[in-house]
């Protein structure tokens, strides 16, 4: 990676900085808060329009045997099997400490590329212990809002 400097004599307008952050995933935006006071303030004042973290959560309705996987799951699995990069946001909804809560649940094993080995091992364990099949679908949440946490929790009843 080249480390060429990119400088300017002018102050960078808020609008441009926001436009840049809109291209980034949430983790990158939050990392950028650590750059400077000004970046931190600009991100905080606009976090409502900045990207949210994509989450794959569980819907605890039982899945019948002949029910098809949702299209996006098939897509991700196909990509994974072909060795192509998959959606990095998959699985990231589960904080490591929370994972043990989800016993007896099944998650379609869709692999991303931004997690560590222990995280995956834990996920596999849950999948292996599974007895019930579940639909998986995608929502986006921002945990800064109390109501979002409630929605999240209401979907994640432990069997």
């Amino acid at each position: 990676m080249s480390n060429e400097q990119i400088l300017t004599k002018s102050a960078i307008p808020h609008e441009i900085l926001l436009n840049i952050f809109q291209f980034l995933i949430r983790d990158e935006v939050e990392k950028s808060q650590l750059v400077s006071k000004s970046w931190n303030e600009q991100i905080l004042t606009s976090y409502k329009i900045l990207p949210l973290r994509g989450l794959y959560i569980l819907d605890l309705t039982k899945k019948s045997n002949n029910q098809q996987e949702p299209e996006w799951v098939k897509e991700q699995i196909a990509k994974h099997q072909a060795g192509q990069p998959t959606d990095p946001t998959i699985f990231r909804c589960f904080a490591k400490e929370q994972i043990s809560m989800y016993k007896n649940t099944f998650i379609s094993l869709v692999q991303g590329d931004v997690y560590d080995e222990s995280f995956i091992e834990k996920m596999k364990e849950i999948v292996e212990n599974n007895e019930e099949k579940l639909n998986v679908f995608r929502v986006a949440l921002d945990f800064r809002e109390e109501s979002d946490v409630q929605i999240f929790e209401s979907h994640l009843k432990v069997c």
């Binding site: 990676m1 080249s2 480390n3 060429e4 400097q5 990119i6 400088l7 300017t8 002018s10 960078i12 307008p13 609008e15 441009i16 436009n19 840049i20 952050f21 809109q22 291209f23 980034l24 995933i25 949430r26 983790d27 990158e28 939050e30 990392k31 950028s32 808060q33 650590l34 750059v35 400077s36 006071k37 970046w39 931190n40 329009i49 900045l50 990207p51 949210l52 973290r53 994509g54 946001t89 990231r92 904080a95 995608r138 929502v139 986006a140 945990f143 800064r144």
Partner: protein, 178 residues
């Protein structure tokens, strides 16, 4: 001469005519109207002036300097017939979809890498959506995967957050690994 009015937006004949554009360092650029019009700001000026437009006396650009305008013009020349870009985002996460750039565009940004901020500001002022969004994407690409320290170094930004403030940011952003 009314037929030569600059209001004839789609007139191919008008697009071939020259207009003089003066940057804030008093440099004059003689540009084909069809190229200058890639900038919506300049296009509006041409249209507003209409028949009173004196193509030889020049359109002033008080917010752009010569060296940057030269680079912007290279983009305009290449994109004079390009369709409007479409800005798309994921309806759930609001993440913006990344644009696929042509080899020419990639090379353009490689060449002018150290001027990305100035290009973004000029493209914003001149209202050239393709250049503006693509430059912002290139800046996002520079931020992606780099540590806050590397970003500060790259952009010459002072590290003015206290350790307490940084700790607080990390505490509120539980996913943040930096």
């Amino acid at each position: 001469m009314a037929t030569e009015s600059a209001n004839g937006v789609s007139s191919p004949e008008l697009n071939e005519r020259d207009v003089v554009i003066t940057t804030n360092d008093n440099r004059n650029f003689t540009v084909k109207i069809g190229v200058a019009r890639v900038s919506k700001t300049i296009n509006n000026m041409i249209q507003d002036l209409g028949e009173s437009l004196d193509l030889s006396s020049g359109i002033p650009l008080p917010n752009v300097d010569g060296p940057i305008f030269e680079k912007v013009l290279e983009w305009c020349e290449e994109h004079k017939n390009a369709p409007e870009i479409k800005v798309e985002q994921d309806p759930h996460t609001r993440e913006r979809k990344w644009f696929t750039m042509t080899e020419w565009e990639e090379e353009y940004f490689r060449k002018f890498l150290s001027h990305l901020w100035d290009l973004a500001m000029a493209a914003n002022y001149l209202e050239i959506p393709s250049l503006y969004y693509y430059t912002c994407q290139k800046l996002a690409e520079r931020i992606k995967g780099r540590t806050p320290e590397q970003i500060r170094e790259m952009f010459g930004i002072e590290d003015d957050l206290t350790e307490e403030e940084k700790a607080e940011i990390r505490r509120t952003n539980v996913w943040c690994t930096y």
